[in-house]
Every structure is written in C-alpha cells, then in structure tokens.
C-alpha cells in the first residue's frame, strides 16, 4: 500500500482492530499459571497500586481502632502557649528575664543565642474552657473550640531536634537524618491498601501567608522501603496528580484506542517471552486510564453540597488551599486511601507572631474543625485517626523586640502541643503538663517515637514488629524506642 501524499490509508475497520479485553484476561491467566515469576518483586513486593492490596503478612497484629489516618502537619512549629497551653502565670514576668531555674542552660538556636536578654513574652491571646470537657483553647481557635469534646490534646510533646529540617524529618520519619521511610510509607507497607485504583498514601502541601519553611520530597518518601510506598502527591493545580492530563491533541477516544493497541502488542510480547511483568504493565496502563477519570472526579469539590462547602469555609473553593485539602482528605479517606498527609506551611513565627498566627489560624482553624465534624457526621470519625501538630513548639522568651502585642518566638523542642481525634483516642481529654512557663515538661512527656508508636497501635500495628531489613538490620519507624501511650487510648 503506497501512500499518496496527504491521504489516509484505507483500513478494514476499527472494529476489526484487536480488542483487548478477552485477550488480556487470557494473558493474565496464562502468565499466572504458566510460569513463575520474574515479576515477583513487583507483584508481591507491592510494586503497584493494582496488585498490592496485601500489606505484610500478620499485619494488622491486632484489631485496629483506626483504619485510616489524616495527618494535618502544621509546618514551622505552632506556638503552644498561644494556642493550647495557657500560662497566666507568665503575665507577672512580662519583659523579665526567664528564670535560670527554668532555662537550665539548655541549647537554644543560634538565631537567639546571641541575644543579650531572654525576656518572657506572655501570650496576648485569651483562653477559655470549652465543651463539657472544659478543654482550654485560645481565642485564635474558635472553630476548634466547637470540637473540644472530641479532642485528645497532648501538651507534653517533646522532640530531639531544634531546627526545622531535622525536626520535620524526625517527626515524619523517626530519624533526624534523611533516608528513612515516612510514617505514611510505613502504614502503606504494613497495611497495604483498600482501594485498588488509588494509592495507599497521599500527600498534599499548602501555604500560609508568612513564616515559610521549605518542605522536601523525603517527608512523604519511602526511604529504604519499595518506592511504591512513597506518598503520591496530589496538587492544587489543574493536573492534580503528575502527568494525569492527556496532552493537547490526544482525546480520550484516541487514548483508549492507543491503549487497546498497546495492550494487544504487549499481550503478544507476553505470549512470546512469558514475562509476567508484562501482564502487570498492561494492568497498570488500564489503571492509569481509569485514574484519569476517577482522580478529577475525586478532586472536583463542586459536587459537594453548599452546607459542606460552608462548613469548611470560604477558602475551600480555592484549589490548593488548606481548606480544600481538608475536604479532599475526607474524600480520599471515603475511597479507602490509608494515609492522607497534609503539610501546611507558615507557622515559623520568629517575628511579629501575633499577626502571623492570626493569619495561620484564619486559614486552618475552621477547615481542621470542619474535617472532624464532617467525618463524625458521616460515621467515619470512629475509624479515622486525625492528628494535628507541627515539628516543635516555640519559646517562652521573646525573639527580637518585645511589646504586649508584638513579639516573636524561636524554636522550642522541649515541649509542644498536638491534638488527635477519632480513631480510638480518648475524646475530651488533655494529657501531659508543662511548667508555668511552658518551657519544660513536668508530667507525662510524650516523645515523637511514642506518638508514632501510638498511631501505629491505633492502626493495629505493634511498632516493634513492623520492620524492614536493610544492611542486615531490621529497621522500624520507632528505631529502638517508642512506647504506646495507653492513657490516650479510648
């Protein structure tokens, strides 16, 4: 058939082109029964969305309280004493040196270590008790106040790192130095997935108006675990998952036909060489095709009712906002995504904390509370663990100039607050206690490893038995530490 210029060749009919479905199924079966398994690492080492629903044998170790996690990570280090940990005693010390008996010569960052003075900066924000539980919350969190009875507030978190990068890496991976899997990757590795068409672990980032701290892929990375366990990033752009959109000039019909042809050719190769990896490849292309339809449907928030949109607040319609991601988190959870991790940038308030923290709370308070309420209303909160917190807290003493209504705070690893809700935690309680300056913990310290152990416990995992061997050593999220904080469990 010689082609004349600019003329299409004739063809029998597209109907006669090899159809895929029957053929493909046949190939899959042949490959499965006919041979073994060069592709084992892929099929069983959980290297694909479609083929991995399994997780690790024996996991969960016991009946889980939470099936899923939404981790609302507040990047930069929210100030505990302006949000959760009221310290009226500090008032009397306004602009006075923090007592040596409190500071105890502990390490501080080089951003303030050169300061001549370390004056106490009391919070300018009022605290009130809320709900039947009487939880103390700052006026900055009026929406969070409405879910006070569902919250389990831990005021005695402590971390090992004093600067952002190591502290965030530690909070997400259990190690200050990069290279370890993130907690979401561990959950994906241990538990596998519930939805064949979506990843087990999704990460999203959003950005506030100040106090920016950079993030890094490693915070949702898979470290030494198989790469499939890394968090798949959902983005606020028109391409919510990388390379999801068809290129200009390729319609769905063309794509479908292309996939049919591809499947037919790959199928022939499978017959010829017998490598089951090809069967997996065919399945992954089909899954990718389905994702191109299912993901935009998933990220399209316009299908939500007006009530729900209002619940999450005005930002919910802005793609990439924290509010829209909170709502998206619920939609992911509903579809069986195991671990949803949000990162909201902007809590690093070294200077002019009052203004910046108002902005941050404006962006995050309502959506965070809405998420808990929304999950609750749908009966999902009982089996979904929601965690809110940042990598460390902030200092009692002021960084820079101090006024009643204008002050800054440096990083503080020795105590900070997080809250949890749903998924098997005790609602309406406060755990742990700090001194009168919110500087040191005086009761029930909770290490980051302990928080991790507790989160895994709620997922039905014994943190000591979720291991992966690297260079001869069985590694775990909690290294050789970690204690399940029984007092937090419902």
């Amino acid at each position: 058939m010689t082609l004349k210029p600019h003329q299409c060749p004739t063809t029998s009919s597209s109907k006669n082109s090899p159809t895929l479905d029957l053929g493909r199924r046949q190939f899959l079966l042949q490959s499965a029964t006919g041979m073994g398994v060069a592709a084992l690492s892929t099929m069983l080492g959980t290297n694909s969305f479609a083929t991995n629903s399994g997780g690790q044998p024996g996991i969960p170790h016991f009946a889980p309280k939470a099936k899923r996690v939404i981790f609302l990570f507040q990047s930069g280090g929210p100030s505990q004493m302006d949000l959760f940990d009221p310290k009226p005693q500090m008032e009397a010390y306004f602009d006075q040196e923090i007592p040596d008996s409190v500071r105890m010569g502990q390490r501080i960052t080089t951003m303030t270590s050169g300061q001549k003075r370390f004056p106490v900066a009391p919070s300018m924000f009022k605290f009130n008790q809320h709900g039947n539980s009487g939880q103390w919350l700052s006026e900055l969190l009026p929406h969070t106040a409405t879910i006070a009875d569902r919250l389990c507030i831990v005021k005695s978190m402590v971390t090992q790192a004093i600067n952002h990068d190591p502290a965030m890496t530690f909070f997400q991976t259990g190690s200050q130095i990069s290279g370890r899997p993130s907690i979401g990757a561990w959950a994906s590795y241990g538990l596998g997935k519930e939805n064949e068409d979506l990843p087990a672990f999704v990460a999203m980032t959003s950005r506030g108006k100040g106090g920016v701290q950079p993030l890094a892929d490693r915070l949702w990375g898979s470290g030494f675990l198989p790469t499939t366990h890394q968090g798949v990033k959902f983005r606020g752009s028109s391409d919510p998952v990388l390379y999801l959109n068809d290129p200009a000039g390729i319609s769905r019909e063309v794509k479908r036909e292309m996939l049919n042809d591809l499947g037919a050719l790959n199928g022939k190769r499978l017959e010829a060489v017998g490598d089951p990896e090809i069967a997996t490849r065919i399945a992954q292309y089909e899954l990718a095709f389905r994702m191109q339809a299912s993901v935009p449907a998933l990220t399209d928030l316009t299908t939500e009712s007006q009530n729900i949109l209002e619940l999450y607040g005005p930002d919910v319609t802005k793609p990439g906002s924290y509010a829209s991601q909170c709502l998206l988190a619920r939609r992911l959870i509903e579809r069986g995504v195991r671990f949803v991790q949000l990162f909201h940038i902007g809590w690093d308030q070294h200077n002019n904390l009052p203004t910046e923290i108002r902005n941050q709370c404006h962006d995050t308070d309502q959506p965070s509370a809405a998420l808990v309420k929304d999950l609750d209303a749908r009966g999902l909160l009982d089996e979904t663990l929601v965690v809110w917190g940042g990598e460390f807290g902030r200092t009692t003493y002021c960084q820079g100039d101090l006024k009643r209504d204008k002050y800054g705070r440096d990083h503080h690893p020795r105590c900070f607050s997080v809250w949890m809700a749903g998924g098997g935690v005790k609602p309406g309680i406060t755990y742990g206690k700090t001194d009168d300056f919110s500087y040191n913990i005086v009761e029930n310290p909770v290490e980051v490893h302990d928080l991790h152990a507790t989160m895994l416990h709620l997922l039905g995992i014994d943190h000591k038995r979720l291991t992966f061997r690297v260079q001869g050593r069985d590694h775990r999220l909690t290294d050789v530490h970690g204690r399940v904080v029984q007092e937090l469990l419902a």
Partner: protein, 798 residues
C-alpha cells in the same frame, strides 16, 4: 488481578532456595551451612555487641568455645552430645532451651537447622571467618558435562550450578535482541538500525566481541557508567536540607565520566577519589576527584550549630565509603557496637578519624560550594557570555533609535538576552568541593550514643582499621591517614573491594548481584548465589589490573550473557527470580535510559558533554510549592531551559535534592540524599501516566513520526517498520505490524476530520515541526510513535 496474585503466591511457596541444601553425603561448610544459622538465631545476644552480649558468649568468633567452663564446654569437637551448644538448643525445658522463649516464638530453630549444627560439631565444629572477610582465592574452573556451551570462565561456574540442579541454559538470544541488549547495557542508548543490521550480517565468530569493543570505546560508555556511581556517591546539584542551596559540583561529575571513558584502573579511581588531594603534587583533577566525599548533603539552616553537622558529614563519609567499597554497614556502630558484624563502636570512630580532618564548617554552602573547594572556569559559558554582552550593547544602541513595533520587538529580544546573560553569569565557573587535610590532626572522640553533644574526651582515637581486617589481612602497618586507607581499600590485602565491585558490575548486567544484597557483604547479607564465581571474578579483576572495560567485555561475551530471556515455565517455577541464570535477564530500563532513548530515537538528543546541569521540561510549580518561594536561593523557582538544553542526556538533568526530577523519581530514581548502590524496579500507573502524557515523550513521538515519514520509505508499512526498528531494533512480526497499520489508518482518518486537534498534538514541546508534512498524517504517526515508546519491550532490556 486477585486470582493472579493468589496463583503467584502459590509460586512463592514452592520457590526454590538458590543455595543447595545439604545432602546426605556432603560435608558441612561452615560459611555456607552453619554461619547463616548462627547469624539468624544467635548473634543478636552472642555477637560482637559487648553491651548486649549474654552469658559472656560470642558465636561470631570461634575463640575459646572449647574451653572448660567449669564442667562443660560450649563446643566439644566431634561430640555434639558433650557440647553445651547442642544441649541448650535441644533442651526439654523451654526456659533453658535456646533461643529463649521471646525469640523462639518469633523464630524457632528448625529441626533441620539443629541437625546441621550437630553434624557440624560431629565433623569437628571448626569456625571460619565470615567468607567475605577472607581474601578471595582463585578457584579452579568447575567441571561441566556440556563442554560445548562455555565460552569463557564465567560460563563454567554458571553451567556447573545449573547442571547440579538438573537445569540447562537457554539458547542464544536473537541477534537483534542481543545487540540491543549489549548497546543499552554499555551506553544507555539503543543501537541504530544500521548497527543492528551490520551485527546481523556479521557472521564471524567474534561478531559480538567486535561490537562490544566498539561500544566500550564510545564516549557514551562513560556517560552511562557514571550514573550508578553518581547514585552511590549521592551526587547532586543542590545541598539538601532546609533551604537546599544550589551547588556547582559538576566538575566532579565530569571527572567521573572522563575517568570511565579513559578506563582509569579502578584502584586508581579509588585512590584519587578517596585521597587524590594527598598524592604528591596533586593535580587539579586529582583534587576534584576527592569531591566524592564532599557530595554529601550540607546544611545551612539558620539556628543550626557547626558542631552538630560536622559530625553528620564525617559519619556520612564513613557510611558511604564503607558501603561503596567494602559492602559494610558501618553506620550501626555510630551509636553502639555492631550487632552482627565485627565492628565495635570504638572501631567505627577509628574509621571516622580518617575523614575527620577536613578544614570545613558544619554550616556552610550558600555560595555554590562549601569550603574547601576549587574553582573551575566553565570556558563555554565564558565565551557565550562574552558573545552575548557584545550583542547586548549593539542591541541597546539600536533600541535607542527604534520606534513603534520595531521598538517593541527589540525590547523582547533585549529581555531575552538579559535573561540569558544572567543565567550565564551564574555559570561561568564550577566550584568543585574537595577534600583537604588540616595541618594538625583534629582529635576524634567516641560519641556516646552517636550524639555530637556527648564526646568521650578521655581518649583521642587515632585513625585505625577494625581489628577484623587488621588481624588477618593487613600485612603492613595499619594505615594512619586517608591516603594509606585509600591504598589499603584498593590494595591486595583487602578482601572486599574487588568482590564488591565485580558484584555491582554483575548487578548492572543481570539485574541482581551474585550477592543480592550488594550493599551488605556482612554476616547478615545474603550469601552469594555463586560464591566461587564471585571469587573468580574478583581475582580476575585484580589480575587484569582493575580494568573495568575488560571486566565488562568478559561478562558481555560470555555464553551466560548471550542467552535469550524468554521465560520457561518449568524453570521459572524452580528459580522464579532467575538467580541461577538459566536464561538471560529481562529488566526494565532506568528512568534515565527511558528518557534518553526516546530523545535518541526521535533525533532530538543532544550529545554535548559536560558543564553545568540543565533544566528540561518539568510540570510547573514543583519547586515553588516546597521552597521558600521567595527567591532566597537561586533554585527556589524552576527556570526551565530552552533549546538544546531540553534535549541533553538525563545525566545532565539538574538534580535538586528536596524535589527530585519527577520523571526520574517516578521510575525509581532514588533521591540522592544518601549513598545508594541498589535500587528498586517498580511497575506503577504513575509510570504509565508519565510515558503517555509527559511533554518530553509527546515531543519525542512527533519527531520520531517525522523521522518515520522522512526516512521510512513511502508505504505506511515501511514507515511503521522503520519506527519500530528505531525503538526496538528487531523487525515487527506481521501481526504486530498489522495492529499499528490499522491504528495509523484510524488515527489518520480521525485527525483528517479534526485538523485543529492534529495541530494541537503537533505543537507539544518547544521544537519546531516540518510544516511541509500533512498535519493529520503526522499526527496519526505521532500517536503510533507514542505507542511504540510506551511498549513494554521499549522500556525493557530483553
């Protein structure tokens, strides 16, 4: 899929261990049969870690086990029943039985393992050092029944093992497959159609040898070989940690490529990278080589302390050096004695001391490098800059005179020029970070729990090798500085470097090393599938003067490498991971090779070598979302390049540590955060999306289509065949061809009725198209070309 999974699970259950089980008449081999049992069940409490050792008993060494311990001996040679070891593992009382209940419930000793231990003691109960710590001795070639198969020494070892398992090798791969395999394996690019045809036509006995020699001589060889080394060396164009500043470390990367292409002997390659700065009259190049141990992440976060990160850098050097050359996981011993391998915490700091003498700061790296470094002029950038500056002054003069539309046009050109100048100004030099020695040795203290805040200042630990190496292998005095260490690592008294290195070559060509855990040759690493072959290759490597090209040639011309990769159901059920190599390996290409191949077959690839890294297409916003987003660093925002830099080999793609290049990352590229010598190969929907939708591949497809039209003859069949062969080397079978001919016809019809759509497809990417081509025909073949690039076979080395 679930039924498939179930079936596959059944195969796992019947999967054969690749090690041979001890049969009745055979003598027990300590390293093969006994050591793995001790390592897996006993060493955790009775091993090298003095802090957790129980009952004053070490089972990683044989010392003193026969001593009278007050009426009993741990081991009485020849008499298992009089050996406490056997008494305790078979004790009737679970409280007294070993391993103790808390371990035994998780991992009891199997009856077969107990039997092996008994037999071992009956046969004398001798200990041997862990196999990897004993110098390799060249074994004789094993006997094989089928003398006609082997082509070189490798094949005797492979065949002998297959014959023991009553398996036989596969026939040779088709020639088109073989030449594609060899070309991709050595150069990271596929062969041209001419090269395939020439190879097929060459009927001489040494046709493959000739091709391999040609490929080894190609500069593409060094570009491809450098990639794995860059992963191992955690090379990156940014510093990592919080702000992730840009660094101009590319002169080191160019040094590596050049060293491979010059076939620098591996011992020299080693010494120059570990201690080139300490060689007499060290050249600039020898100093640049030492960038290997400055490639680690460097922190510059406000508020951080020098002391803390100085420790991290030195630890990283010890870890990386130990993993890359010695296959040892030294890092464990930072905080405590190693639990499984003979490396005490103190010995770790003995290694640490070699690398703890650099005039560096813990917090540094804002200016493109951290001290110490050397500056390397980037001659091309300097010349380009000069040219553009002249052009700028001319343009400015004409701009003053211009009016109206002409002025607007001039302004656009001016802006573009200014941007280019700004970029070039940033790249007039590379700043290669190097190793240097302080004039006085900095003291090294053991850090309790590995914590920089807890140095044990009671003792300054000098640079020293672990006793395990010193005691048995080091004939000369212990090296006292980095240069001597480098010479020991690459010298005749080190049992590991040659083994570890040839193992990685094997991994490169077969997908899995002879030791699967190529990063761990320690007591908990996996045993080699072919121990004698490993030792033969290691001794061969040193015998040929550490000649890497010679080793590649040896492997590629073996009968083992030439086998077809077709999976035989029977064989696969017995050796599913193909560790015994009864067939060739079938492996997915790396993300880098996949992109480079697409650019190459489409004719877009620029083969310009060296210089600063480049920024090809990348989805918008990826860097901005995670960075300060304020322009604090030069790489807060992704400023995509244009023109030739969009099409350079992926080796040159800018690697930002906190946000790895997305396409490479999706294809398991790792993060370059830390040393990596073995990666994953996954198969995911994200990969399918990338290959179908990334502008890189759409643009490559339309250029491939253009080539098919221009160079592929006049018929649709010939054009598709041409494209097929550009991508896959082999000719399509007629039923394969039919699928794509039908496809082309359908797409053509569709695009003929939707010319706008065709033009939209053809406008993907920044390169221009040949307007003389019919748009719907070009668009239809673009879809066909994209189908070709997405074939499983296209992204697989068969």
């Amino acid at each position: 899929m679930s039924s498939l999974i179930r079936l596959l699970l059944i195969f796992v259950a019947v999967q054969l261990d690749t090690s041979l089980h001890l049969s009745a008449g055979e003598t027990v081999d300590f390293n093969r049969d006994v050591q793995p049992i001790l390592a897996s069940h006993c060493i955790e409490c009775h091993g090298p870690d003095s802090a957790t050792r129980k009952g004053d008993l070490r089972l990683d060494l044989g010392d003193g086990l026969g001593d009278d311990r007050g009426g009993y001996r741990i081991l009485t040679p020849g008499k298992p029943e009089e050996s406490e070891l056997v008494v305790r593992i078979t004790h009737a009382d679970p409280e007294l039985r070993m391993p103790p209940p808390e371990f035994a419930t998780k991992k009891p000793l199997k009856p077969q393992e107990i039997e092996t231990l008994k037999r071992w003691i009956t046969e004398g109960g001798g200990f041997e050092q862990h196999w990897a710590y004993v110098l390799p001795r060249r074994p004789p070639l094993p006997k094989v029944s089928d003398e006609s198969w082997p082509r070189n020494a490798i094949d005797y070892f492979i065949l002998s093992r297959l014959e023991k398992g009553e398996m036989s090798p596969s026939s040779e791969a088709e020639k088109a497959t073989l030449i594609r395999r060899a070309t991709l394996a050595l150069t990271g690019l596929p062969p041209s159609i001419d090269e395939v045809d020439a190879f097929i036509a060459d009927e001489s006995a040494d046709a493959l040898e000739k091709s391999v020699d040609r490929l080894l001589a190609s500069p593409r060889y060094g570009l491809h070989m450098a990639l794995a080394w860059l992963d191992a060396a955690r090379y990156s164009d940014s510093s990592g940690y919080q702000a992730d500043w840009e660094r101009y470390q590319w002169p080191w990367r160019d040094w590596v490529v050049d060293a491979y292409n010059r076939n620098m002997p591996f011992d020299l390659f080693t010494v120059e990278q570990l201690a080139g700065d300490m060689l007499p009259d060290a050249t600039i190049a020898q100093q640049i080589a030492t960038g290997f141990n400055r490639n680690h992440r460097i922190n510059d976060e406000g508020g951080s302390l020098d002391a803390e990160f100085e420790v991290e850098y030195v630890v990283d050097r010890v870890d990386t050096t130990a993993t890359v050359w010695l296959g040892l996981s030294a890092g464990c011993a930072r905080c405590h004695d190693h639990k499984y391998d003979p490396l005490s915490q103190k010995e770790f700091y003995g290694l640490y001391a070699y690398f703890n003498n650099v005039p560096e700061k813990g917090i540094d790296g804002r200016i493109g490098a951290a001290k110490p470094f050397v500056e390397i002029p980037n001659e091309r950038s300097v010349a380009e800059l000069k040219k553009r500056k002249v052009h700028l002054s001319e343009l400015e003069k004409t701009a003053e005179a211009a009016v109206g539309a002409e002025a607007g046009d001039g302004k656009v050109r001016l802006e573009k020029l200014k941007k280019e100048i700004k970029w070039l100004e940033r790249h007039t030099k590379g700043m290669a970070m190097i190793m240097q020695e302080l004039p006085e040795r900095r003291p090294t203290y053991l850090l309790k729990r590995g914590d920089y805040q807890q140095p044990d200042k009671s003792e300054d630990i000098p640079p020293s090798l672990p006793v395990a190496f010193k005691r048995t292998h080091l004939k000369e005095e212990t090296p006292r500085d980095r240069l001597e260490l480098a010479r020991w690592i690459a010298g005749p008294n080190n049992p590991l470097t040659a083994r570890v290195t040839v193992n990685r070559l094997w991994q490169h060509h077969f997908g899995t090393g002879i030791v699967r855990t190529s990063e761990d040759f320690g007591t908990r690493g996996e045993r080699p599938s072919h121990p004698e072959l490993l030792d033969w290759l290691a001794t061969e490597f040193t015998h040929v003067g550490w000649d890497l090209k010679a080793m590649h040639r040896l492997i590629l011309t073996s009968a083992t490498f030439r086998q077809a990769s077709k999976v035989d159901a029977n064989v696969a059920s017995r050796d599913p991971m193909n560790r015994l190599l009864a067939r060739g390996s079938r492996m997915r290409l790396s993300g880098i090779a996949i992109r480079d191949q697409a650019l190459f077959v489409s004719g877009l690839l620029s083969e310009r070598q060296g210089g600063q890294s480049v920024k090809p297409y990348q989805p918008a916003g990826l860097w901005e979302e995670l960075s300060f987003g304020s322009g604090k660093t030069t790489i807060d925002f992704y400023e995509q390049d244009h023109g030739e830099n969009l099409y350079r080999r992926s080796l040159y793609t800018f690697w930002k540590r906190t946000v790895a290049p997305p396409q490479l990352s999706i294809f398991d590229g790792g993060g370059r955060e830390a040393c990596r010598v073995r990666g994953d190969t996954t198969n995911t929907p994200m990969q399918a999306l990338n290959l179908q939708n990334d502008v890189t591949f759409i643009e490559a497809a339309r250029h491939l289509a253009q080539r098919m039209i221009h160079e592929g003859g006049q018929t649709l069949a010939s054009r598709i065949t041409y494209g097929w062969r550009l991508v896959l080397g082999r000719k399509p079978k007629s039923d394969e061809l039919d699928v794509l001919i039908n496809a082309a016809a359908r797409h053509c019809e569709r695009y003929a009725n939707a010319k706008e759509e065709a033009l939209r497809l053809l406008s993907n990417g920044e390169s221009s198209r040949d307007d003389s081509l019919s748009s719907h025909e070009h668009a239809a073949l673009t879809v066909v070309a994209l189908t070709l690039l997405n074939l499983d076979e296209a992204i697989t080395l068969e």
